[in-house]
Subunit: 214 residues, 2 copies
DNA sequence: GACACTGTTGACGGCACGACAACAAGAGGT
DNA sequence: ACCTCTTGTTGTCGTGCCGTCAACAGTGTC
């Protein structure tokens, strides 16, 4: 008819690449966090994000690429600003640091629980690399925060010790946030004492073991 | 022709169910240990085991069932016999125990590395259950070994602390066996000191925090 | 208001998995 | 030796998922 102005509204909105990519990634993280990889189909993610399935391949190459992007995003944890650490005995500084860590973790609870939750078999070099890098950053950040950034000798061994300590941090947080078998205070006590011991007792002894080293 | 005795040999051997199941499972563990779950096809496992693909479904229900069986097998670790622990100060007993642990782990290196290697996101309740149960057993075994099986109060919290400690054990072993950033002696020192501190310092303090408890 | 750019869609081909009926190896009986 | 029954094993069929790609349609620009 003449005068017919019934504009059919757009069937889909056109977004900036970064926006669309982000939208898909968020939905993917939700789904990967609640179901194992193989149980999440790209169709599921596409449906949740309200886009066509093919778009996932356009932005993330493959399902695996999407998964890796999700892992990368989740393990990206904010770093501690050493400037906010008070002076004083090591133990006090460590306690402040661990306290900040627990607060930070509880804010990012969803992602952390997803990462902490499972560790099955399934050697995946790329995932391992991403996680190892995240652990390395976390350890480096911790060491810098307590002012031991350039201790020597055995600086590398110190970093390895702290990365090992990181394994206990994850497990302790799991006990607290998932299994509810420890309180926040108890975890704080545990992680503070253990790190203090590590830095004040274990590391010096390790240095004594082999005085001739880097 | 008469006298033709060309018996065509059997095209396949018939095995006892347990035998065949074991054969398939071993190959599956190899493959799952070297490639991520999604990259291992049931055809691959079948080919490696020299059987038809359908047989996998017959013995393990599904690919996922096969994977769960592999995880179960790998996390089954021998337990320590407390009778072999010498008397003496706690620290000495702990050191003996950790030393035994490291020896045991290095024997089962392949499986352990596979388990320790990856922990990506991907919430999988069944896998979590299997691993949590393995951690629980390990912690219980350790506690019994050092003779703290029935300390009170806070026996449950002690178990949680030791499970958290288990996270450090895994991470430390990873540093030693995979990344080669710590020596066996250094790992022994670390794990001995940390566990001693946990049992002698941290746990008593935790008990003091809340004297009124189970 | 028409054009061009590119974000987005939908369909096609191949492959992996689970189900199931048919097959055959091997043991036991005659 | 031969037959027969049991059941371990195979191969095929249907379904669903993933990666590719050409066509389509928002949306800024002249």
């Amino acid at each position: 008819m003449a005068g017919m102005s019934a504009q059919s509204p757009p069937r889909w909105r056109r977004l900036e690449p970064d926006e669309r990519r982000e939208q898909i990634l968020e939905r993917a993280i939700d789904l990967f966090a609640e179901r194992p990889y193989a149980e999440v189909s790209t169709s599921d993610v596409a449906r949740a994000a309200g886009v066509a399935r093919g778009l996932i391949n356009h932005y993330f190459e493959s399902k695996r690429g999407l998964y890796l992007a999700a892992v990368r995003r989740i393990v990206t944890v904010p770093t501690f600003d050493p400037a906010t650490l008070p002076d004083g005995p090591l133990r006090a500084r460590v306690e402040t640091l661990v306290d900040w860590l627990l607060t930070t973790v509880s804010k990012h609870a969803k992602g952390w629980i997803a990462v902490l939750g499972t560790e099955g078999i399934g050697s995946d070099p790329e995932v391992e690399r991403i996680l190892a890098e995240a652990d390395r950053r976390a350890a480096e950040n911790l060491i810098k925060s307590v002012g031991m950034h350039d201790v020597r000798p055995h600086g590398q061994q110190l970093r390895a010790l702290v990365r090992a300590y990181g394994g206990m941090v994850k497990a302790a947080v799991r006990e607290w946030m998932i299994h509810d078998t420890l309180t926040r205070d108890q975890v704080l006590l545990l992680l503070t004492e253990q790190l203090t011991t590590l830095l004040e007792e274990t590391f010096p002894r390790l240095q004594e073991l082999d005085p001739a080293a880097q």
